[in-house]
Amino acid sequence: MVTSLPPRERPPGTETAPHAPHPADGGGGETGDPGRRGWLPWALPAVLLVALFFALPFALNARFAFSAWTGFRSEITWNGLDNFRMLVEQDLLTNAVTVTVLYAILCMAIQNTVSLSLALALQRTDRVNTVFRSVFFLPTLVSPLAAGYIWRGILDPAGPVNSFLGIDWAWLGEPATALLTVAFVDAWKWSGLITLVYIAGLNSVPRELIESATVDGAGPWTRFARVRFPLLAPAITFNVAVTLVGALSAYDVIAATTGGGPGDHTRALNIVMRQQWGQGFFGSASALSLTVTLLVIATAVPLVWWLRRREVTG
């Protein structure tokens, strides 16, 4: 799960919706030119970290995707698109991209739906809700591999879930349910975190707006659909981007639950990458890694741009 954000991303909850100035920002709204001055020193640490740990390794490693690099010989030679061609010929690349994208969409949809519902239920800060928030946050602290192994046991055909339901179904072993089930496990693991972000977002909606809407006769659903949801845009931007991009680079939960099976139904890009690496095919493994990176960039940049634009116009 990738939890890093583009450096320009502000923490949700501290965001200010353009049409609804937050009381805490002194009504500065979008006209705050003074806020934009002197940003460089603040951005520099993040820029340096991204440059050193992302841009530089990326630039240095990208070329290996186009190289004949294996454990079988010392020379690393340029081979153009051979790695990609070979991965396509062996039925590996196309399926892996499809599985990865499908998995990311499922993860994003499940996590955001579940988390937003939980956030609405747990928004008010009181003792009971605090306990529940902590409980739902606990899985975030569990190692993804451990979470995977635990759920593998729980979802075993002879495991407690089937015993409870009184059915005999291999949740992780049937093509129809394997990917969805793994996405559910990923959602279980991360929904607590996403919920907290939504709670922060909901609590940043000015109370007077809700009260005004109530006075104007808006019911709970209208208040949510017309007032709170539009003002949640910054939190949605964060959560959708994080869940989608994180799931695109999925490895750990899949490795621990299905290992890519049944067949190749959950064989995401990073699973194939690991298999290629284990066989000593480092060039083709690098090609798969590059594919993941490009997929993340190609998804994240337009997505964040669109969602941010929606924040402004929404």
């Binding site: 454990g71 079988f72 010989r73 072993g173 890519g260 190749d264 690991r274 284990g278 066989q279 000593g280």
Partner: protein
């Protein structure tokens, strides 16, 4: 490319020094202390206690220190390859003895030639099919090969009036009889991925006397995908067994631990596995050796005759990577000489393993199942045909697709042949 790798390493190192003690230099193993050195040994976490005890004994007797770097047995090849690819080299590497795995280490560049060592001459023809390539011996094999065959529950077979099958036709017949009794005939462990390749490998062994088929594939005089080839026939037979309902219903999720338990408890009649699984079987029986002895038998199996298949394993197989440090290289060589020298007899005795060096007595008090394994091995075992072929690691994931019905045998064989070609060309094998 090499320059960029160094640059990347330096960059990563520079970054890491922000939080850690630093790279190279001080943290590097192998500092000398009055001629005594520290040797790094990448070892499999499945090393049995008697083997680990031998490492400690070497330390006591030589004065050198061994720094054990554990490589998890789950994902052992991946993890070793990952560390290896970074350019990191241990003084001693415990790894597979099969030529296919050896080739992926680029031995002529990276490993020391041990052909002249005394143990090679005492190992019979072991190194004609393992631990050696290009006429040079690189491995020091101390462990008995993994012997693959069919474990069976004696009582379950007897109750169904079935004799232990030695051929796939007999296996099919046994399957029908056992299914009629409501027993799972063969327990397969697709959840662990690798075990499901064992049955097809066993099938091919009847065609692999003197490793003839393996050599033909490795030498590119035959293709895995040749219509009607032993490999395609093996996959087809596997598929037929599956279609006939011979396997457990949870084949896609079951692990090899599940298979051992199912066998010992009689829920399943047979499991295709290797001899190093006996400790797992003992664990499945709650540590009750007598129960294992009374319950479990072992037989060879192939397409047409009851022959066992063997493959040299990673446990107790050592390589000496070139490190360029004369003191440590000498100490590492001393380690190999220690393991294959007078101490070897003690290891065989304490580990209750069978010796691979001549002139060393076998262990006492070996369990009846292991005796069955040894007897079957001595009656003429055939090396697994994939032992010398690079690129065959792709078989296990393909079997997963075959089981899921996504690939037919011919298509799976064609795809695997592509992977073999990729690896063989990279390894520069003659004929490719």
């Amino acid at each position: 490319m090499r320059a960029s790798k160094r640059l990347l390493g330096a960059a990563a190192c520079a970054a890491l020094t922000l939080t850690a003690a630093g790279c190279g230099g001080a943290a590097e193993p192998g500092g000398t202390d009055g001629g005594k050195v520290t040797l790094t040994l990448w070892h499999n976490t499945a090393d049995p206690a008697p083997l680990v005890e031998m490492y400690k004994r070497f330390e006591r007797e030589s004065g050198h220190t061994i720094e054990l770097v554990p490589i998890p047995s789950d994902g052992f090849e991946d993890s070793t390859q990952t560390k290896w690819a970074t350019g990191e080299r241990p003084d001693i590497l415990e790894y597979h003895a099969t030529v296919s795995n050896l080739l992926a280490l680029n031995p002529s560049e990276n490993l020391r030639d041990l052909s002249g060592e005394a143990y090679v001459a005492r190992s019979g023809d072991l190194y004609s099919s393992a631990g050696a390539t290009g006429g040079k011996v690189y491995a020091a094999i101390t462990g008995f090969p993994q012997v693959f065959g069919l474990y069976y529950n004696k009582k379950v077979l007897a109750d169904a009036g079935v004799k232990p099958p030695g051929t796939f036709d007999e296996l099919s017949a046994a399957c029908r009889a056992l299914s009629a009794k409501g027993v799972t005939p063969v327990f397969e462990s697709g959840g662990s991925i690798w075990p499901v390749q064992i049955l097809p490998l066993l099938y091919v062994s009847a065609s692999n006397e003197a490793n003839a088929y393996g050599k033909a594939i490795a030498g590119h005089t035959a293709s895995l995908a040749d219509p009607g080839s032993p490999f395609v026939a093996g996959l087809s037979s596997y598929r037929k067994l599956q279609d006939d309902g011979c396997f457990n219903k949870d084949i896609t999720t079951a692990t090899f631990e599940n298979s051992m338990k199912a066998l010992v408890t009689g829920k399943a009649a047979m499991v295709a596995q290797h001899s190093d699984m006996l400790p797992a079987m003992l664990a499945a029986a709650g540590g009750d050796q007598r129960k294992v002895d009374d319950t479990v038998g072992f037989t060879g199996l192939s397409s047409t005759k009851a022959v066992v298949t063997y493959a040299p394993g990673p446990i107790g197989t050592f390589y000496l990577p070139k490190t360029g440090d004369a003191g440590r290289e000498q100490a590492a060589l001393d380690f190999v000489r220690f393991m294959t020298g007078p101490a070897y007899a003690d290891y065989v005795k304490s580990a209750k393993t069978f010796p691979v060096l001549q002139g060393v007595d076998g262990p006492q008090d070996v369990s009846p199942v292991l005796q069955d394994v040894k007897k079957a091995y001595d009656n003429g075992a055939v090396i697994a045909f994939n032992s010398d072929i690079p690129g065959m690691a792709g078989l296990a994931p393909l079997m997963s697709e075959l089981i899921a019905g996504q690939k037919d045998p011919q298509k799976a064989a064609t795809q695997l042949q592509g992977q073999v070609e990729q690896a063989a060309k990279a390894a520069g094998l003659p004929g490719w």
